[in-house]
């Protein structure tokens, strides 16, 4: 359940960036292979934001699909796991180009 400490970090980053203002909404980018379950972050969000500038803020999560580049044939493809093979050549040496994101994108403050 590392989403709890992930969510605590989100609150800390938001408070550092909010200029002391109450936060109305926060937008996250969460990659499909980031290892973080968006629903679990949503579950932790209320608890972690209580008595902070974030209390009552809306949480928007943008899910980033995973795309990998095959190191053997250089082909690009969408992947859904770390062990998807390259659809072009069948190789497993797939370098992730996106899908690992775990980022606070923007805030909306009062």
């Amino acid at each position: 359940m590392h989403e709890m400490s992930i969510t605590e970090s989100i609150v800390e980053i938001c408070e550092e960036n909010s200029g002391g203002r109450r936060v109305i909404s926060v937008t996250l980018e969460v990659g499909a292979l980031s290892g973080v379950v968006p629903e679990a972050v949503e579950f932790c969000f209320d608890a972690c934001t209580r008595d902070t500038l974030m209390e009552g803020a809306k949480l928007h999560i943008e899910r980033v699909p995973a795309v990998a580049c095959c190191l053997d044939c250089r082909g690009r493809s969408g992947v859904s796991t770390f062990y998807d093979s390259c659809p072009a050549c069948g190789g497993y040496r797939m370098e992730l180009l996106s899908g690992n994101e775990l980022r606070v994108k923007e805030l909306e403050v009062e």
């Binding site: 970090s9 200029g19 996250l28 290892g35 770390f82 497993y92 606070v104 403050v109």
Partner: protein, 250 residues
């Protein structure tokens, strides 16, 4: 009590208690809602602290490994045998991570190697900040090899860099050969896999070749050793790998 590292006090200045403001974001002091672009990695603080640990270990010539696995894979048994074999030639230390008890640190201390226990309480992983405090208790100038035994958990520790040279994932033959596919994130970030408890292979349905194949699907370059921490079989290749990488100091 510091809830991030559990180090017992709240009257000292931890990095995570500071709320420094960088210059790279906009502060709005006018009334009315407005957007602030942040674009900050949620793990940035841990990664920064891990980079600090890595630099410290590098400066001191310490080779650091982060041992990860599910509970009961035999990490501590492998460590005990490894330390008995190597601690005569290399100066070793161990950071033990568990939710509760200092049982593992007591086991390690019985080998004569200094060990620090971190109890994470309800926490499911070690982070770089906890490790930075733990290693303050070692004489780092007199260390060659640092083992960090993470909390037994094949999920959460994958996301948290501690500043180690390599993550070493331990998988035992009693667990099922498809663990690399079930917990791919962990096998993806590990550079080494120790396939443990091979002494039990006659008694369990486990195909080591299939397991290794699945691990290499997730992590094509992963280095794999088949061994038994209990019997000692196969440990020599693991010791050789370590010895090739540990810089011995005078």
């Amino acid at each position: 009590m510091c809830t991030t590292c559990g180090c017992g006090t709240d009257d000292h200045d931890h990095d995570h208690h500071r709320h420094d403001h960088g210059d790279d974001h906009h502060h709005d002091h006018e009334p009315g809602a407005r957007k602030i672009t942040v674009e900050t990695d949620i793990l940035a603080k841990n990664n920064r602290l891990a980079a600090g640990n890595r630099a410290l270990f590098g400066n001191k010539g310490i080779f650091a490994l982060n041992l990860v696995s599910s509970p009961g894979s035999g990490k501590t048994t492998i460590l005990e045998r490894t330390l008995r074999e190597l601690s005569g030639d290399y100066r070793c230390a161990v950071v033990e991570g568990d939710q509760q008890t200092d049982n593992d640190a007591v086991r390690i201390a019985a080998t004569g190697v200094p060990a620090i226990q971190i109890n994470t309480g309800s926490g499911c992983h070690l982070d770089a900040h906890m490790v930075s405090h733990a290693v303050e208790q070692f004489e780092l100038d007199k260390l060659d090899l640092l083992f960090i035994e993470n909390v037994g958990n094949l999920v959460c520790p994958a996301a948290f860099d501690l500043g180690e040279n390599h993550k070493v994932v331990v998988l035992s033959v009693t667990e099922g050969e498809d663990k690399p596919l079930k917990y791919p994130q962990m096998f993806r970030v590990a550079d080494v896999m120790l396939l443990n408890k091979t002494d039990l292979l006659p008694y369990v349905e486990f195909d080591p070749e299939k397991c290794k194949d699945l691990a290499r699907r997730v992590s094509p370059d992963i280095v794999i050793f088949e061994l038994s921490g209990k019997s000692g079989a196969g440990m020599d290749a693991w010791y050789s790998w370590l010895k090739e990488r540990v810089g011995k100091k005078g």
